[in-house]
Amino acid sequence: MYSFEPSEEQRMLIDAIHKFAAKDLREAAHEADESGAFSEALIGKGWELGVVQASIPENLGGFGEHSAVTGVLAGEELAWGDLAGAMHILAPGLLAFPVLAAGTDEQKQKILPPLLEGAYRAATAAWVEPFFDFDPSELRTTARKKGDAYILDGHKCFVPLADRAEHLLVFAAFDGRTQAFIVPRTTAGVTVLEREGNLGLRALPTFEVKFEGCPLPAAARLGGEAGFDPLLLLNVTRVALAGMAVGMSRAAFEYALAYAKDRVQFGVPIAQKQAVAFMLAEMATEIDATRMLVWEAAWTLDKGLEATHAAALAKTGADDMTMMVTDRAVQILGGHGYIREHPVELWMRNGRGFPMFTGLAMV
């Protein structure tokens, strides 16, 4: 049966996240973007909402059934608060969800309970590489077999919290396809470089990381000897990012709408001018339309069906929609939209990154 309403349980989760997003994330967002980070206390509080934990089974340290649909609902709401904050809070999931989806039983038992039980512990993934034609399926970072072990070589960028994560899930080309390796940060040959400065996500500490002849045991390879289907995780990250994009775009839309109703020019609120009203109508329509694509892709993942098509549509749609919506939000605020006192320019800077954020979100 078709149905387009979150369940009661999901609604409760969304409401709880919304309160946190509105009161904590949103309030701190501007300062965090200016200063470069959210406080540990706030991240800890966000972690306690249990978004990641709720999507991992009890016997692995979580407290719920895995659900990508719930994940995108939660991701939308957290990103509505702040994208960088959302990514920071959910960073442990960058390791946890791939391990859940594709890890061996040993890997699940070793990695998940310590990550999920108790206070926030940073973890991360390294997928993106600093080349204009970066392709998640054709990586320049490589892993090669050496006896029973692997040797990792390469260069990653946009790695959140690399300076403090205990483990990095590093995506590398092995035997002609993308695979992943669970790499302790202290492994020989791993160098976390200086903190990056980016167009957006300025409140999320991200880093370039070099891997030079890093030796890894066989057990480090995600999925063990058999590995895993890289398309699965590519689809998952696309859907997760698309979900967050919808949330952040919704924030920009709502802000611009409120401003347009308030801002009087030529004797009336500018929202009463068709040009502006139509921009807002289209923004609302595109956000709703994209959300449906995201939901369908997440539902397809949960059903265990082939999700590449749905994930591609959701991600492509979300990338374009987000740029349109955030650009228009700045435009609607006019000159004031250009000033950092209002959050719309921040959302536009963050919004431009979605096509590039592979691996920075998972469900």
Binding site: Y2, S7, Q272, Q274, L280, E296, T300, L313
Partner: protein, 409 residues
Amino acid sequence: MIDFEMPSPIAKQRVMLQTVAENMMRPVSRHMDEHEHEIPWDYINFMHGAMRATSAGSLAPQEKKREGPRLGYQILANMIETLSWGDAGLYLCTPGGGLGAAAVEATGTPEQKERFLKRFQEELPVLGCMAMTEPQAGSDTSSIRTTAVRDGDFWVLNGEKIFVTAGQKSLVETKGFVVVWATIDPSSGRAGMRPFVVEAGTPGVTVTKLEHKLGIRASDTASVVLQDCRIPFGNILGSAEVAKEKSTETGFKGAMATFDATRPLVSASAMGIARATVELVKELLAQQGITIRYHLPRQKLTHIEREVIDMEVMLRSAWLLVLKAVWMADQRLPNSSEASMSKVKAGDAVTKITQRAVELLGPVAYSRKLLLEKWFRDAKINDIFEGTGQINRLVVARRILGYSSRELR
């Protein structure tokens, strides 16, 4: 609970109608397009027989009390999408009441529904239609000038309607009816608007013109003149009270309620054309060895792949908006915003998809050898009738801003 599982009644119906579309519609598409005022009796008679057999009756969902979730509008939307995939013009020739029956369903009394709708289930196929637009009144429906004056047990209608879809088939070719929107009080604008059923054969109602159109040529688009057209008093849709009160917006709101219900269904028709187009584009490209690599980043996609993915994003997202709008209608949730959003998106999507498809496939698409150029022509009306894209943006904008029609013109 978010769920995208297609209910099996819909899945079954789609399979059946896909066969109808492929066998009864596509083979005659080109012929009907080039013989604009020929009546597609084979299709009409076939559909009438099929609908009688399944007791579907009219195009307005009449849900009998039964167990299980309501699916009426979802079923209709899927039916319309599939038939329009076949041929959007022919779909508009499907017997059953169309917008006319929808208006009766939305605003009629039980007695009126019985009286007017039963003809759709009888031996011969019958069509119904709705007449709103006038030469000087398009998007501004409240400025219609057709009058209805009470005269004892009758109403006397005078006026001229244009752009009446299926006017000829409803009033001349079959024993159907037209729902005419007229005013009982010209000075009161919207408040005076009422719907009146004028049955085929009534003296004083004449089809005066059949338009020659860019597309959907199989569907007749008629001008209908009412000249001292007398209809029974009881043909005013809704209770008699509606007739007495001059200063009520019930009539206008009735029109709007009809449109809320039918708007996503028109969007559904647009999406059928869009799907036909995207499928054919992919098929033609595949024949040339070109497939779409969905896993690649945008920088690595060829331009053609980008175009196709963009089309598919529009196609799928617009369709899901339609599905959501009709699902809400089935849940009896107010869906005015979603209905209008679906129309904004669908009108835009089918226009862009068909225009890009013709561009993309070059000379092959420009030729009449393929139906692609026809779909380009069929598509355009979807951003225009049943509320233009601009009016629907206005409706959406008023909703999201909480503005009345006075505050946002």
